[in-house]
Symmetry: C3
Subunit: 156 residues, 3 copies
């Protein structure tokens, strides 16, 4: 049987979750663009103050902190600190051969935890709420990685 096939339920579960997380991560870039365009602010490069079709009336205040835009950047940075490692750990985890249910709980669970983290961060919930969702996802990621490590070391 071909384990790296989208017809295989285990690998397809990984592929679905990976695709959702990639779209989520890329979505943060688009959301940053949307918010920058909407408020015409939150730019970061000196050349972004040149008069162009998309920025007909440049103003020095367009560069510099803008929490409406920077909030999305913080969310995106949090994605960068987490999602690339999930993409690799999830892949190795399904290669390690857990049961389908085991994989579904962890992979879909991770996706849900990240979407809840996003919702909490976007709406500026307290640090405690945001941290709780982050912690759940991070523990799932650590669990999958340890599962791979133990299997690769031949300890099981």
């Amino acid at each position: 049987m071909d384990r790296l096939s989208l017809q295989d339920p285990l690998f397809a579960t990984y592929a679905i979750c990976a695709a959702l997380m990639i779209l989520k991560a890329v979505g943060m870039s688009w959301l940053t663009v949307y918010r920058m365009t909407k408020v015409k602010s939150g730019y970061r490069s000196p050349e972004d103050l040149r008069r162009t079709r998309l920025n007909p009336e440049p103003d020095p205040s367009q560069i510099g902190p803008n929490d409406y835009v920077d909030r999305i950047r913080r969310i995106q940075l949090n994605d960068l600190e987490n999602l690339p490692f999930f993409l690799a750990a999830g892949f190795l985890f399904v290669i390690a051969g857990p049961s389908l249910l085991h994989a579904q709980i962890l992979l879909y669970g991770y996706v849900v935890s990240r979407l809840l983290h996003f919702a909490a961060y976007l709406t500026a919930q307290t640090h405690d709420v945001r941290a709780t969702f982050w912690t759940i996802g991070s523990l799932m990621l650590i669990y999958m990685t340890l599962y791979v490590l133990v299997a690769a070391l031949g300890l099981v």
Copy 2:
């Protein structure tokens, strides 16, 4: 047939593009080092102001914003927001089994879009030019990811 073989034209296409993008990303670190060393500025840690063989005459101004160096850091951050997700999406895309031509257009197209984005950013073209190249690459990345998602969900 072994799909994960560098002798397979489809997988080799992915491997070539992935390798080029990894070299591009790592190249940004080296370019940062080159520029930091050239202007002996743009450092970020307090200990970087200690007198060493590579920094014989430290000066407090060496820490803090320096656009010559920070431009490369902004380019690199843009890479971090995009390339890890391309590496995963491109891999799953070739696993999903597109035609070779289909894969070549998207994978090589993505590489070209990123190199043009780099050239535009490095030479401080207007935001509109840079954004155009970024958008082309990002849409290709989203397309590949949706292709994987649709295939993994069994919708085709």
Copy 3:
């Protein structure tokens, strides 16, 4: 034979190193949390100043630069600039089929170089020391990537 098996010594070597690097990267998030919680500072979002169970006595000084916390963030950013690319390059490298010894030297060597880089950065060694460990790891990463590129291009 199944190359993507944790029973295969070559792939298991990659999986062990990948798992260690994922744990290292995720560990930086936990270390940031530990240090933020210890000094109750180094927060980054406005809402982190709300009174909560984890932050019973909020104070505006809790937001803003804090080198005890920011040092870990700089280490983590360095991880983000390197580890996702190692995870992809190392994977393609073992697919390219080096000898087991060849792979062990490069993959374990990379892990050791990153752990030494971490130790040097955490203890604020001079820039020269930190840069040396980074350079060793980066050259190994470039070597593995070029190995993949040459093989995928059919040059060997």
